[in-house]
Amino acid sequence: MTFFAPIFYILSVLVPGLALMRWFDSKNTLLLWTGAYGLGTALITGELFLYFLILRLSFSPALYLVIGLQTVIAAWLLYKKPLLRVKAKIAPWGAAEIALAVIIGGCMVFAALNAFTKPPVGFDSLSFWSLRTKVLIQQGSVDFHPDHQFYLGAYNHRAYPWHSSLAEYWMRILGGGEISVNLISLGYYCALALALFCALKSFLTRRNSLALTAFFVSMPLIFYHAFNGYSDLVLAYYVVMSAVYLMKRELSSVYIALSALFIAWGFFVKNEGIIYILAWIGTMVASEVIRRSHFSIKEWIRIISCLLLPLLPWILFRFFLGLSFHDLPPARGWHPEVLPQVLKTLYAYDNWNVWWWIFSSVIIVRLSVLLRSQRAWPLIMFCVLVFGMILGMYMTSENYVYALDHTALSRTLIPVTALSILVMGYCLGAIEKKNISENV
């Protein structure tokens, strides 16, 4: 792997990402930079999808030129219209905060060391995520002959989305070696941690926000996904970014549009992304009906466009090629035997340390506080819908086998676990607020 590949990758992702985020939010905050990583990567993979899969073109050096030019134009736009500085007085860091920051930083350093030394060897990574990259590099184009072995890039899971494979492809053609896919996962791990911290800080003290972020980054399964070329953590990032902007929906409808953009992209990361989109739509409709909000036509168009723009190419592509959601032969049924496995994965395995015990204890003692918090309920509704649909998917479809053999169940819950951190933050924030108001 060349030294410059990750630097070019980050620049080509971050600069256009910042220019895109600038459309929605002009304040120069940590959250803006965090979002820029995800939006920038989505932009690149979206363009590569258009190039290789919609237009069915072969590799051309012009790709470097186009994406390079895009980066330069984005940099020029940012130079002409810089991000607005946010004047914030940063209080001195206490000993506890420094200790928590060291834990978070330490986990990231550990993950980085693993990322640089351990090539992915997981089944999904080698059998399609990275295989598609490898085949695309070798063939220079995507095979569209249904009777060929590399039809749509891999032997199996042909209906799986392309985001991770194309992000890896971009890193690889910039000069990154086969291990460089780990750096993409690592980037999402760090970005997700930052996103959670930024969101938590809006309703908790800095120390408590750091504590919850430290819990998250040190969960064994989350940590392991930071350097193994899977897409579950990537999906978690887009879901969390969407939830973070969903919580800011009262400030501006622009944030709802941004939230829509992030949640829609989740479907181009993993098939499960569709669950999150349905939950998002359900939450939005309920929330706006209850609030009796009156968006202007322009606002509606912006929100719907942001939801459909990333979705439509992938949905139409799937439709015209007849790609099914089913990995296994479809089979409806009722599988209550999944439930003990769900409990096991949440409460007995070391995937999440004792997080779900912590979460449950707070929900038990402070459910009433949480339910009374008007700001919190859309997030809670979103989480409940998502969890319900995931449970429903495993209990009523052929996917139950993946829950019983534990090949996918825990991984599927990574985005839910990330969301639960936000719920916990809200819950503790509501308690904090209640204490303050009672003291006054």
Binding site: F110, L113, N114, F116, T117, K118, P119, V121, G122, F123, L126, S127, L131, K134, V135, Q138, H148, F150, Y155, G177, E178, I179, R207, N208, A211, F215, S218, P220, L221, F223, Y224, N228, T345, Y347, A348, Y349, D350, N351, N353, V354, W357, I358, S361, V362, I364, V365, R366, H406, T407, A408, L409, S410, R411, L428, G429, I431, E432, K434, N435, E438
Partner: protein
């Protein structure tokens, strides 16, 4: 506190779930979690009755941190070991990194060298089989790995009865190689004619590392 220092080796399944260290006969997550849950509920009840207030989030998070700490220390112990073991691979060639990781997992999962020996076998294939030749694989649990490492150099979608090469890598598929060089799939017992028997054509053995790792070349 011995459970903190229980080693947790990396397995192929580590990407799917992480088993907890045991505390006596139980999962440490269950023991610590249940104690925490009980403590929070009891404390919250007593505290709110006495003070007519809800618990301070700082105190709650302090309590959670105490519960988090044992398994966090276990996580640090395990990962420090993993990082220390693999640190020498920093900046080393990809092939070396892959081989090391495969061999680590192989040793822990008792895979009898099937995973560890894979990189060497791939090298052998690339040594014996010319680029862009068509290769068919005997069915086996590790085919996905073999295919990944051969995908960029060979044509892998040719049926076995037409492929230039036939590769066996720790396959569970019943095969028979007759004296005249004919390779059979699903042979009958003692080479008796079986209804499911399928001739793949005549092959010569191009390379044989052992009975589980063979490269057959089609006779022209």
């Amino acid at each position: 506190m011995n459970f903190i220092f229980q080693n947790r080796p990396e397995l192929l399944s580590s990407i799917n779930f992480t088993l907890a260290p045991s505390l006596g006969a139980y999962s440490a997550v269950v023991v610590i979690g249940a104690i925490l849950l009980a403590a929070v509920v009891v404390w919250a009840l007593l505290y709110s009755i006495k003070n007519h207030r809800v618990l301070n989030p700082g105190i709650l998070l302090g309590l959670f941190s105490v519960a988090w700490l044992p398994l966090f220390l276990h996580f640090v112990f395990v990962n420090a070991g993993h990082v220390r073991d693999g640190l020498f691979l920093l900046g080393r060639p990809y092939s070396e990194q892959v081989r090391w990781r495969f061999c680590q997992i192989d040793a822990v999962q008792n895979l009898a060298g099937s995973l560890c020996g894979l990189p060497l076998f791939i090298e052998k294939v690339k040594e014996y089989v010319p680029p862009q030749a068509s290769i068919a694989l005997a069915k086996g649990p590790l085919n996905m790995y073999v295919e990944y490492y051969l995908a960029d150099a060979y044509i892998l979608d040719t049926p076995a009865d037409r492929a230039d090469y036939f590769i066996v890598y720790h396959s569970g598929e019943p095969l028979a190689y007759a004296q005249d060089g004919t390779l059979y799939r699903n042979p009958g017992v003692d080479f008796s004619i079986s209804s499911s028997q399928e001739s793949l054509g005549k092959f010569s053995i191009d390379a044989q590392l052992d009975s589980q790792r063979l490269i057959f070349k089609r006779q022209k």
